[in-house]
C-alpha cells in the first residue's frame, strides 16, 4: 500500500446522499481476480451521463461526497476503484462502516467532517479548486486561508500515513494470539460433516 502522509490536489464534488458501493463499482467488474485496474470502471453507469458531476473535475485527487457514502455491499473493489482512479481522500459527513474500513486498508483516507465544515471546504474550492489533506497533522488547508482540523483513529492514521501491512502488525502480536488460542475450543466441528 502506498504511504499517504498527505495529498494536495483538485477536488471533485459528488453531492448525493447514500451513494452505495453498487454505484461506485457495478457487479460485473467483481468477477476479476486481480486487485488493480478498477479505476476505469469507477461509477460505470453514472459516467455514461455527460452531466455526471465527476466529469467536471478530471484529475481530482480528493472527493467530497454526501452522507453515508459507500453504504451497502462490502465489495472492497469500490475503494480500489476510487484509489485507482486517482482519489487519495474522501471527505463526507459519514461513511458506510464496511467501506470506511476497506478504504483505510486500500490507501484511501475516509475523513468524516461535520456538514457545516464540509460546506466551508466546498465554498473554498468553488473559488479556487485546490486543497491539501494532511494525514500526519490531521489538517485540511486551502490556499485561500481555510484551515480545519479533523479527528481520525490513530491506528488507522498510522496504517495510512506509513502504508502499513495490517496483517504483519497483527502477526507480530503472536504471543497474544497464542495465549488466546491456548484456551480456545472451536464452537463447531467441521470434521463431523459427512463427505
Amino acid at each position: 500500500m502506498r504511504p499517504l502522509p498527505s495529498v494536495t490536489g483538485t477536488v471533485a464534488v459528488l453531492d448525493r446522499p447514500d451513494v452505495d458501493t453498487d454505484q461506485i463499482i457495478p457487479k460485473q467488474f467483481l468477477k476479476r481476480i486481480e486487485r488493480a485496474g478498477y479505476g476505469e470502471f469507477l461509477f460505470f453507469d453514472w459516467m455514461k451521463d455527460p452531466g455526471f458531476e465527476l466529469h467536471a473535475t478530471p484529475g481530482a485527487s480528493i472527493l467530497i461526497a454526501g452522507r453515508n457514502f459507500g453504504c451497502g455491499s462490502s465489495r472492497e473493489h469500490a475503494a480500489w476503484a476510487l484509489e485507482d482512479y486517482g482519489f487519495r481522500a474522501v471527505l463526507a459527513p459519514s461513511f458506510g462502516d464496511i467501506f470506511r474500513q476497506n478504504a483505510i486498508l486500500s490507501g484511501l483516507a475516509p475523513i468524516a467532517l461535520p456538514v457545516q465544515e464540509l460546506s466551508r471546504v466546498k465554498e473554498a474550492v468553488a473559488t479556487r479548486n485546490e486543497l491539501t489533506v494532511d494525514l500526519e497533522r490531521l489538517r485540511i488547508s486551502h490556499p485561500g486561508g481555510l484551515e480545519l482540523e479533523f479527528a481520525f483513529d490513530p491506528h488507522a492514521q498510522e496504517t495510512l500515513v506509513h502504508g502499513l501491512d495490517d496483517v504483519a502488525r497483527t502477526l507480530r502480536r503472536d504471543g497474544e494470539l497464542a495465549a488466546f488460542e491456548a484456551g480456545y475450543t472451536p464452537r463447531f466441528d467441521l470434521a463431523k460433516i459427512p463427505a
Binding site: D18, V167, E176
Partner: protein, 457 residues
C-alpha cells in the same frame, strides 16, 4: 455489571482490549469464504508466504457467480473466479462446498444449515449480509477483502468497539404479515444510515414469535439500515433449529442475553400492531411504503438532500408521485436470495401460488437458497406447485439478487424481488427493483401488479 448481549460476545472474544477508542483485537470463531471477495486475499497470502491460520474455522462455498440453470458455466470470468476458489481452497487446505456437492448454497443459508453458526460466536465473511447469522445470537458482520486476508492469516480482526442499538418491535405482528414487512418498516423508520456505527439487537415478543427463518430475514437486512451487525438473543427455538445439524456442538446458548439493567447507546421502537405489507418504491431499502399507499411526492420531503434523492429515485424507477402502488405493473418476479430463500419462505410463497397462474407477460423464478433447501422443497412437492403455476424452478445460488450470473433484468424491466437491495442497476443495468416479502412476491406474480396478499382470493 450488567451487559448487553453484544457486549458479552465481544468481551469473550478479546485477544487484546483496545477500550473505547482504540481498536481491540477480536478473535473470529468462523470465517465464511466465497468466490467473489476472496481471490485477492488468497493471492496476498501466497505473495507474503503466509498460511491460513485456522482451517478448522474456515468454510468456503460457491454462490454469487453460479448459474442457476442446468449445464456448465459459460461466462469465462465467472468460471475463472470459481476455479480460483477451488485452487485456493486446495492449496491452503480450506473446506469447500462446491457446486454439485449437495451442500452448496448461499453462504448465509448454509451456515446454520451445516450447524457451523452457533449462539455467542463471532462470524465474518466478505459479504455485507453476514449479519444474517445474528439471528442465532452470533456477532456476525461483513468485511472487505483486506480483512478477509487478515482473518485468513490471523483468525482475528482489529476492530473498534461499535455502539449498541436496541430496535424493539412493539405489538403483535398482524395476521398475514412477515418478518420482511417488519424489517422493511424498521428501515423505513430509522433510515438507511440509521444504524451506522452500531450493532442492533432486535427485541420484542413479535421477534420471539418468529421462526428462525424469519429472524434470519430480519438480521439479514441490518446492513440495509446501516448497521454492520444485527442480533437476536438465542432461545429454545434457536437451539432446536441447530441441534442435530452436521457440525453442531452443544453450546452454552442460554448465557447469551442482555442483562436486566444493561443499557444501549440508542433505542428505537417500531410499532407493528397496525403494520401492512411493505413494498419499496425507490432506490434504497428505506424508500418503502405500505402496499395500499402511493408513490410519494418529492415536494413532501423537507430535507433538500432527501428531496433530490427521491426525485432521482422516481426518475430512475419511472414512477409518478401519487401513483397507487397497487397500480404498478411488473415484468419479473424473483423469489430467492439470502434474505428469503429458506424452506419456510418457499412454503409460504407456494401456499399463495397454489391453484393460481402467473399473470400473462410476467416471468417468475424461484431460486432455493441452498442445495438442501432445493431437495427439501422438492420432497415437499413445492416445486410442482410453483411449476404448475408457471414459475421457473432453479438451482441454488445468489441468482438475481445481484446479477453477477446470467439471471439479470433487462434495462427498464420492473421486478418484484424478495432480495435485499433495490439500488440502481443492482439486478441489471437499468433494471427496476421493488423489495417485498415472498408471499407478496407470489401475489404480484399472480396479479401482474403489486397486491395485498391478504386480499388474494
Amino acid at each position: 455489571m450488567s451487559r448487553t448481549l453484544f457486549r458479552k460476545i465481544w468481551d469473550q472474544h478479546l485477544v487484546a482490549d483496545g477500550g473505547d477508542s482504540a481498536p481491540s483485537l477480536l478473535w473470529i470463531d468462523l470465517h465464511l469464504v466465497h468466490e467473489v471477495t476472496s481471490p485477492q486475499a488468497f493471492e496476498a497470502l501466497r505473495t507474503a508466504g503466509r498460511r491460513v491460520r485456522r482451517t478448522d474455522l474456515t468454510v468456503a462455498t460457491m454462490d454469487h457467480n453460479v448459474p442457476t440453470t442446468d449445464g456448465p458455466i459459460t461466462d469465462p470470468l465467472a468460471k475463472q473466479q470459481l476455479d480460483a476458489l477451488r485452487r485456493n481452497c486446495e492449496e491452503f487446505g480450506v473446506l469447500l462446498f462446491e457446486t454439485g456437492s449437495g451442500r452448496e448454497g448461499i453462504v448465509h443459508v448454509i451456515g446454520a444449515e451445516l450447524g457451523v453458526t452457533q449462539p455467542g460466536m463471532t462470524i465474518v465473511c466478505g459479504d455485507s449480509h453476514t449479519s444474517t447469522h445474528g439471528a442465532f445470537g452470533a456477532l456476525a458482520f461483513g468485511i472487505g477483502t483486506s480483512e478477509v486476508e487478515h482473518v485468513l492469516a490471523t483468525q482475528t480482526l482489529p476492530q473498534k468497539r461499535p455502539k449498541t442499538m436496541q430496535l424493539d418491535f412493539a405489538g403483535d405482528l398482524p395476521f398475514g404479515l412477515t418478518a420482511k414487512d417488519m424489517v422493511l418498516a424498521a428501515i423505513g423508520q430509522i433510515g438507511v444510515a440509521g444504524g451506522v456505527g452500531h450493532v442492533i439487537e432486535y427485541t420484542g415478543s413479535a421477534v420471539r414469535n418468529l421462526s428462525m427463518e424469519g429472524r434470519m430475514t430480519i438480521c439479514n437486512m441490518s446492513i440495509e439500515g446501516g448497521a454492520r451487525a444485527g442480533l437476536i438473543a438465542p432461545d429454545e427455538k434457536t437451539h432446536a433449529y441447530l441441534a442435530g445439524r452436521p457440525a453442531f456442538v452443544e453450546s452454552n446458548w442460554s448465557d447469551f442475553f442482555t442483562d436486566e439493567g444493561a443499557t444501549y447507546d440508542v433505542v428505537h421502537t417500531v410499532d407493528i400492531s397496525a403494520l401492512k405489507p411493505q413494498v419499496t418504491w425507490g432506490t434504497n431499502p428505506g424508500m418503502v411504503a405500505p402496499v395500499d399507499g402511493v408513490v410519494p411526492d418529492p415536494a413532501d420531503f423537507a430535507d433538500a438532500d432527501e428531496r433530490a434523492a427521491v426525485e432521482r429515485a422516481l426518475h430512475y424507477m419511472d414512477l409518478a408521485p401519487g401513483t397507487p402502488l397497487q397500480d404498478v405493473r411488473i415484468d419479473r418476479v424473483f423469489i430467492g436470495s439470502c434474505t428469503n430463500a429458506r424452506i419456510e419462505d418457499l412454503r409460504a410463497a407456494a401456499e399463495v401460488v397454489n391453484g393460481h397462474r402467473v399473470a400473462e407477460g410476467v416471468h417468475a423464478i424461484v431460486v432455493p437458497g441452498s442445495a438442501q433447501v432445493k431437495r427439501q422443497a422438492e420432497d415437499e412437492g413445492l416445486r410442482e406447485v410453483f411449476e404448475r403455476a408457471g414459475f421457473e424452478w432453479r438451482r441454488a445460488g445468489c441468482s438475481m439478487c445481484l446479477g453477477m450470473n446470467p439471471d439479470i433484468l433487462a434495462p427498464g424491466e420492473r421486478c418484484a424481488s424478495t432480495s435485499n437491495r433495490n439500488f440502481e442497476g443492482r439486478q441489471g443495468a437499468g433494471g427496476r427493483t421493488h423489495l417485498l416479502s415472498p408471499t407478496m412476491a407470489a401475489a404480484a406474480a399472480i396479479k401482474g401488479h403489486f397486491a395485498d396478499v391478504r386480499e388474494l382470493a
